[in-house]
């Protein structure tokens, strides 16, 4: 609803928010270092695999795990690195299929967040592929940070074609 009073404008929105938990790229013990987290919306798994494999070789990345995050064909990818924020931005922006809204928000916020609790009426997360690497993990799986947030995003609406 928009109400205009001369030069003033009053906007009111009503939306149903859901509480979710997310894992963040920023590390708890070493906040200057980040883990690589990717978010893909409605991209085929083969396209994601090809892009990530090239990035893995180019940037000497350790193993990458691709997880199906919802039934609509959305995927998340995890790579347990300890890289600077600048380097993480460089790698993520080098991924053509990445969800651009996720990248933009993460860059402004200073860390990237992936949802780890399933949405209502959606199945749980499932590992669909692992891209093995000769390089060892740079960080521990529990070294990341976690937060809770409220959102009205039902997923998949960030897709732009």
């Amino acid at each position: 609803m928009i109400v205009r009073l001369g030069k003033l404008q009053l906007r009111m929105y009503i939306s149903i928010l859901e509480k979710r938990t997310g894992i963040n790229s920023q590390q708890y013990d070493n906040p200057d270092k980040h883990t690589l987290l990717w978010d893909f919306d409605r991209v085929s798994i083969s396209k994601i695999t090809k892009s990530l494999m090239l990035l893995q070789r180019k940037h000497k990345l350790p193993n990458i795990m691709i997880i199906q995050s919802s039934v609509k064909g959305s995927f998340h990818a995890y790579c347990f690195t300890a890289r600077s924020f600048r380097e993480v931005i460089h790698i993520l922006s080098d991924t053509p299929e990445i969800d651009i809204t996720y990248l933009r928000l993460g860059m402004v916020r200073g860390y990237f967040t992936l949802r780890i609790t399933p949405r209502q009426n959606e199945p749980n997360f499932k590992v669909v592929r692992t891209l093995m690497s000769v390089y060892p993990n740079e960080t521990n799986i529990n070294s990341m940070t976690i937060n809770e947030y409220l959102t009205n995003n039902k997923g998949g609406k960030n897709v732009k074609r």
Binding site: Q26, D32, Y111, F125
Partner: protein, 112 residues
């Protein structure tokens, strides 16, 4: 303690304080989070590995969980095609040494 060591210690404290200042307050460590642990267990990581959280154990566990057919490596031909190299050239570089072929793919990626 010598003066040099004192200075090193002081610098370490200052750097740690800077890091703490930079750290956003609303973020918690994943180490103590049950949600993160549940997530890892749900995707197939064994409970004792989640607690011990050793990197190599973690990957062994994930490897056990996913079917071996899903663990893939791209061939030189597939890598060449994925950067837009024509099939004719991609087939030709297949016979080259791996290093030379990868160099050619990278050059192609930069040039086109």
């Amino acid at each position: 303690m010598s003066k040099g060591r004192d200075r090193d210690y002081e610098r370490e404290v200052i750097e740690a304080a800077k890091r703490m200042k930079k750290y956003p307050e609303h973020l918690r460590s994943a180490r103590d989070s049950d949600v993160w642990k549940d997530f890892l267990i749900n995707i197939g990581v064994k409970e004792d590995i989640v607690d011990s959280s050793s990197g190599s154990d973690f990957w062994e566990s994930v490897r056990e969980k996913v079917d071996s057919k899903h663990i893939q490596r791209l061939s030189i031909y597939q890598q060449a095609r994925s950067v837009g190299m024509p099939a004719k050239i991609a087939r030709r570089i297949r016979d080259w040494s791996k290093e030379r072929a990868i160099e050619a793919i990278e050059r192609w990626q930069m040039a086109y």
